[in-house]
Subunit: 267 residues, 2 copies
């Protein structure tokens, strides 16, 4: 087993400044990094791109576009596509957004997601960036993402060229679904990214920061990795953990733990 496909999503060590994350990845022999727009903007887009490129790291994805319920979704997503291109990120992760405030119209919100992706697709194609629709766990359906299953993400993605619109398989969001292995097989060349972390309970208030490092929970991570491989996916595998407990630890220690969990439970 090697780190050839391993990518460290920077959100896993949220308080680690970008230059230190990059240096840490290089020191650990990590070949790829997943970036987020906010810390990239803070460090500077061109400066971030140069930092990562000079270090020889591949940018495996940029998080994130989407949130199509926001008024400024179009301008914001066009900017995100440009940023992904500037960083050399082949994939822009899209989290669709939830219901508009006070709305109960989940069908309407879902239609808007498909329409918005239709509007963005030509721009993404022109920029050489693939739009990667990420289904989030259904506990985020109302406030973050009306796309709740891999099957539903594929229903949208399949309207477009697979080179332009794909899907994200994030173990945390899909593990509970009894149809997930069938949907991974269906996804095939649509799989634009594969992300891993682990599921633990009890969930904390707000549920966003309830994730664990690979191996610390109940998800069959290796089985999911084998399934995406069997579907033809040969891309990077990002460890992405949101956790108050993990974030409180030193970045280098978190990277070491992410690598160890990856090698033991995923690779």
């Amino acid at each position: 087993m090697s780190l050839a496909r391993f990518s460290f999503n920077q959100a896993t060590a949220q308080r680690w400044p970008l230059p230190e994350v990059v240096a840490g990845c290089v020191a650990a022999g990590v070949p790829g990094i997943g970036l987020w727009r906010e810390p990239v903007a803070e460090y500077g887009l061109a400066r971030s791109a140069k930092l990562v490129r000079d270090a020889g790291l591949a940018v495996t994805s940029l998080c994130r576009g989407g949130f199509f319920s926001a008024d400024d979704w179009r301008a914001e997503n066009l900017r995100a596509i440009e940023e992904a291109a500037a960083l050399g990120a082949p994939e822009l992760v899209l989290v669709s957004g939830g219901l508009p405030a006070g709305s109960r119209d989940v069908d309407g919100a879902r239609r808007r997601v498909a329409d918005a992706i239709g509007e963005l697709a030509p721009h993404a194609e022109a920029a050489g960036v693939r739009l990667a629709i990420e289904p989030l766990h259904p506990m985020f359906a109302s406030d973050r993402c009306v796309i709740t299953t891999l099957g539903q993400a594929l229903d949208v993605a399949e309207r477009f060229d697979p080179a332009v619109v794909g899907v994200v398989v994030d173990a945390y969001h899909v593990w509970w679904d009894d149809t997930v292995y069938a949907q991974i097989a269906r996804a095939a060349a649509r799989i634009a990214a594969f992300q891993v972390c682990d599921w633990v309970t009890p969930l904390p208030e707000g549920v966003l920061l309830g994730r664990a490092l690979p191996g610390d929970g109940c998800i069959e991570l290796r089985r999911l990795r084998e399934a995406v491989d069997a579907a033809g996916y040969v891309g990077p595998i990002e460890v992405e953990v949101f956790s108050a407990e993990v974030w409180a630890r030193p970045g280098a220690e978190v990277l070491d733990a992410a690598i160890a969990g990856y090698l033991r439970h995923v690779a």
Copy 2:
């Protein structure tokens, strides 16, 4: 609109003693009540049955059997079937249970659910009690219920006589599912119970007590009610809310609010 189909699940006013719940329902013109095993045992099974019967209330369901990951699941569920029969509850709600401690084998846990229901079905049939498989929201998949969608519940239920094994449609657990209306149509005569409350965020720590009274959240409750009706369901509609905030209010006030929310957003 009337209260003819309204049923008050006693968990909605958890701290209201059973005799007061029953008196409150009678005073409010509520025809049905959903009971839970623990408060029934506390008041006494025969005594509870007599109290409710003398008040002229229908017991619309008993919560709950299931938890098939527990060592004593068989004896416990046979007792639950007997209790449902003694109370005159036509339906025993089954919550399947999660993964055994330390296990990642979700397929195995799901097979055990189907096997257990196969073992219980003849006993339920003999007792005149229908087993009602309740899919819970996927955020409970690991620790409470490996059955996470209506489709999955139906895959199990359809192995049995519909008069013996049905499914629960609880709006809170299924609203996020883009296939839910197709699955409700598929369920048809399998719909053993229809429960309503509402979805609000942020979810509290542990997520169990995050529910709201009908109308206070984002679920299209009337649309779901119309869908179960269109599928042929003519049974009771239970309001069932777990909420620290609701539980802190006087029981009579909660019942009034449940009725008002039901009439305005469900009936």
